[in-house]
């Protein structure tokens, strides 16, 4: 079936990838796995502790919160935006949940997610109706979310451990936050690949004007993506409370950048329209493995920031140069 010669009535469904393409994609996915295996081999040489069950569980646990944030960031990056408010929204949701957990845990969780979604929607409204560039709009929302987080709780709020029992359950390597993360990523992967909503996002990121002319409801899609990003960031905040037993208003400074770096390691194109969310999640794991290795060799945490900065510069720099070369080749 040739989708070009037989346009479907809705006119904007993309062709299903062929078998050859999916095989190629599988190999490309393994390229990241290869990177991880090399890292793991190197780490095992340096530290015998690396390949223990405890440590692998640690890496996954550490990846879970950043992973959910990266899901949020990924959706926005696919449509050609950025969301700098993800970490501040995470902090806000964490304090809302932690404050309400002793009296009404479910209401606290829902309220946290609702707050995240509303702030995300606010970014979306500013970007679309207000015509503010995504970076500035989400920077403004970052300030709002961070301010509100401090209004809800001036200092860290700890949650009685008994309440968080259900979060502490683990199945082999997988704790509850990790399972939540993997399930969310799988659902989003399905949505992005198989639903009209998901394909629309790639169309908007690829070329917004063409997408609009082809009948994609750009405004509605953008609003939903930003709201979804806010809600996912809030869920990351809940996962953080589950992991650390406290809501912290100042938590996550710099995580918005980590989330961007992680998905770029996973091969997402920085200016929208391209990327595979599962690979982006692999990027998160690689990113956290590097952090874990730095901990294992007990590198001074002060130097770890410097190493991280250099990793971000190199990774994003390479990605930008590759994108520029591709564009140069096309035109």
């Amino acid at each position: 079936m040739n989708p070009i010669s037989s346009p479907s009535p809705d006119g904007h469904r993309l062709p299903r990838p062929s078998t050859a393409a999916s095989v190629l994609r599988f190999i490309a996915g393994n390229e990241l796995l290869l990177v991880w295996l090399v890292l793991a081999a190197a780490a095992s040489l340096v530290s015998p502790f690396f390949l223990t069950e405890t440590n692998l569980r640690n890496i996954l646990n550490q990846s879970s919160v950043l992973g959910i944030l990266a899901c949020a960031q990924f959706l926005v990056v696919v449509i050609g935006g950025f969301d700098l408010s993800v970490a501040a929204v995470l902090a806000l949701a964490s304090v809302i949940f932690a404050t309400l957990a002793p009296t009404a845990p479910l209401a606290g969780a829902l309220l946290g997610i609702a707050a995240g979604a509303s702030l995300g929607l606010l970014s979306g409204v500013a970007v679309t109706l207000g015509r503010v560039t995504p970076m500035i709009a989400t920077l403004g929302v970052m300030g709002i979310a961070r301010g509100l987080a401090f209004v809800v709780a001036e200092k860290s709020v700890s949650v009685p451990p008994a309440l968080l029992e259900p979060f502490k359950a683990t199945i082999w390597l997988f704790s509850v936050p990790v399972i939540v993360w993997l399930v969310l990523a799988a659902v989003l992967a399905w949505m992005l690949a198989r639903t009209r909503f998901g394909r629309n996002l790639y169309a908007i990121g690829g070329n917004e004007r063409s997408a609009r002319l082809a009948g994609v409801p750009v405004l509605k899609r953008k609003l939903s993506v930003y709201a979804l990003s806010g809600a996912l960031s809030a869920i990351a905040g809940l996962a953080l409370v589950g992991r650390t037993s406290s809501g912290v208003p100042h938590v996550g400074a710099g995580w918005e950048l980590d989330s961007i770096a992680a998905i770029v390691i996973g091969g997402a194109r920085l200016f929208g329209g391209e990327g595979n969310i599962l690979k982006a999640m692999m990027g998160v794991i690689i990113y956290q493995t590097v952090a874990n290795i730095m901990n294992l060799v007990s590198l001074n945490p002060f130097y770890q920031d410097i190493v991280k900065a250099i990793v971000i510069i190199v990774v994003v720099g390479v990605s930008v140069m590759r994108a520029a070369r591709q564009q140069g080749g096309r035109s």
């Binding site: 500035i136 920031d305 971000i312 994003v316």
Partner: protein, 334 residues
């Protein structure tokens, strides 16, 4: 008489007029509003001096940032650079402080330390500029990465402990007054005059607007976009260094966590002043009026005993509303 009113009327209806003077008008309205609501406390000369004093550090940062933004970039690392250069000035410039530091900054004397502080600031400006021009990494990502990098360096240098005992010169300078106005206020307005001259009366300034307006057109008309971009990032770094000097003078203290709200305030001041983050638009009048409006707003909230955390949220809202409004005005013009 009637023609005068007509002329005034057409000017008031023109979007260009509001783009040029909107912030000033809002500032005046706000002063009236704040004076009435605070029952006169706001307009007291001592309070107005406080506002100017508080505005001076943000003002210096905004002036530096406005150069970068007019040229079409953005520097998110200014606060980190401010802290690092103040750390160098305070740490290496005081024997007592340098002996107390865990990380180790050697004592090199007051003036060499001040010089080294400015050099550090210029150096990281250069790094930002190189990442943006040579590597073509988007400005906000490269400068956020610089923030991380500089933050790490601050921790390594100080061992995580704050600077408590800078040379007494700093606090003496911060408290020095001429005609009741503290010295940092003169620094702010002095820098504003220099930047105004740079933007309006030099070829560098004119080229800056060209580069920000259209990078490609500037490139084809023979401007060295590379050098211009590099230069503005270095100048912005130097302004961050100067702001670090003022910060140390005002508080006699600097730590890794200092000035957490400065970045938001800086960007809010810029956009409230009407400097488009798309580049090519804006000037010193916009920068200064934006700074004063936000400083007045924050001072008013302090008088009304509103929590500083709510102020962060208010700054966020102000950014969204200001940018939306200006993009609306600009689309009217077109």
């Amino acid at each position: 008489m009637s023609t005068l009113i007509e002329v005034a009327g057409t000017r008031l209806r023109s979007p260009r007029f509001w783009q040029e003077n909107g912030t000033l008008a809002v500032l005046l309205l706000f002063v009236v509003f704040a004076t009435v609501v605070s029952e006169g406390v706001f307009i007291r000369p001592s309070n107005l001096i406080t506002i100017l004093y508080q505005a001076s550090i943000v003002g210096v940062l905004v002036l530096g940032q406005s150069l970068v933004v007019i040229a079409g970039g953005l520097d998110l690392s200014i606060v980190a650079v401010l802290i690092l250069s103040a750390t160098v000035m305070g740490g290496a410039g005081s024997e007592q402080q340098s002996m107390m530091m865990l990380g180790g900054l050697p004592y090199i004397g007051l003036w060499p330390a001040v010089f080294a502080g400015f050099l550090t600031a210029a150096f990281f400006g250069l790094i930002n500029g190189l990442m943006v021009t040579a590597l073509r990494i988007p400005a906000f990502i490269s400068t956020l990465a610089t923030t991380l990098l500089v933050g790490g360096i601050i921790l390594v240098v100080t061992g995580g402990s704050p600077i408590y005992y800078p040379d007494p010169f700093f606090t003496n300078f911060g408290n020095a007054k001429l005609f009741d106005l503290p010295a940092p206020v003169y620094v702010f307005f002095g820098l504003a005059a220099v930047v105004w001259w740079l933007l309006n009366h030099t070829s560098f300034g004119r080229k800056l607007y060209a580069v920000g307006g259209s990078e490609r057109a500037s490139h084809y008309s023979g401007l060295s976009v590379f050098v211009m971009r590099l230069a503005v990032f270095v100048l912005c770094g130097l302004c961050a260094g100067l702001a670090g000097f003022l910060f140390l003078s005002r508080t006699g203290y600097i730590s890794y966590a200092s000035g957490a709200d400065l970045l938001m305030t800086t960007i809010a001041s810029l956009v409230v002043g009407g400097i488009s983050l798309a580049g090519g638009v804006g000037g010193v009048k916009h920068a200064v009026s934006g700074v004063l409006l936000l400083a007045a707003l924050s001072n008013f909230m302090n008088i009304m005993l509103i929590s500083p955390h709510i102020q962060d949220a208010v700054n966020g809202f102000v950014i969204l509303i200001a940018v939306s409004t200006y993009s609306y005005i600009n689309s009217e013009k077109a």
